[in-house]
């Protein structure tokens, strides 16, 4: 009976991941879509100059956003099995996608709050805060840490 106890925990955590984790993920994706549709008119570019820049507007400013998303137990479990057979780890794909989209949205929201209507030179980087690069053996849970940077400016939108 004793050996069933850890197994019970594992099953409980898997269920937690399955029910709570996927629910959290779904509602995050819904939230991302809602906010993205709010900012459709915002000009986001990845080039390092200033398209449609309005002359005489206030000076450009750097904007930054960070997002760290944790994976759930079920995802880690699935990824472990995927590791044995190789192939695409879809659950982690979605985790990275969430962190990136959230970061870009936060850039847009930060820029908008300061009265800008465009950002350019968007850069996305991953940060290693779990320390999995320096000590890969310590088997920390996976997480996606994305740092986004861009320059906000005022664009005279081409009339549409």
């Amino acid at each position: 009976m004793e050996f069933l106890c850890p197994l019970g925990f594992v099953l409980f955590f898997l269920a937690l991941g399955f029910f709570v984790g996927s629910n959290v993920e779904r509602s995050h994706f819904r939230d991302l879509e809602r906010r993205e549709s709010l900012h459709r008119d915002f000009l986001v570019t990845q080039v390092d100059h200033f398209p449609f820049r309005q002359g005489g507007a206030k000076p450009p400013v750097i904007v930054m956003a960070d997002t760290v998303i944790a994976c759930d137990y079920l995802k880690a479990f699935l990824a472990f099995w995927r590791n044995l057979f190789g192939g695409e780890v879809r659950s982690y794909n979605r985790m990275m996608e969430r962190a990136r989209r959230e970061s870009i949205l936060r850039l847009i929201e930060a820029a908008r709050q300061q009265g800008y209507n465009a950002i350019c030179n968007v850069r996305l980087e991953t940060a290693d805060i779990g320390g999995s690069v320096v000590s890969p053996q310590n088997n920390r849970p996976a997480m996606a840490a994305i740092q986004a940077t861009a320059t906000a400016y005022v664009a005279g939108m081409p009339s549409s």
Partner: protein, 109 residues
Amino acid sequence: MIVTNTESIAGYRIVALKGLVQGNTVRAKHAGRDIAAGLKNLVGGELKGYTELLTESRRQAMERMLQQAQQLGANAVVNVRFTTSAVTAGAAELYAYGTAVVVEPEATA
């Protein structure tokens, strides 16, 4: 002080180069955050503590960079880049660097 991560600043002209400026900070996560993160890793979702940690460290590194730029007599920093490096398992370094310049507004036609 105008700070951008682009090479130039629209509407401004670079009139003098002051050289590379940099700032860094090594931050350790405190144990409370680690425990909270451990719990969050069961159900997924955002690790707000870590997000704040990253944002704080970025701000700190940038502040140090701006101090240097000010000492050099610059009024803008262009092409700012951030990198992180994991120093040990418990701590991460955030490094900000850019080019300090003196700019003046372009004569608007």
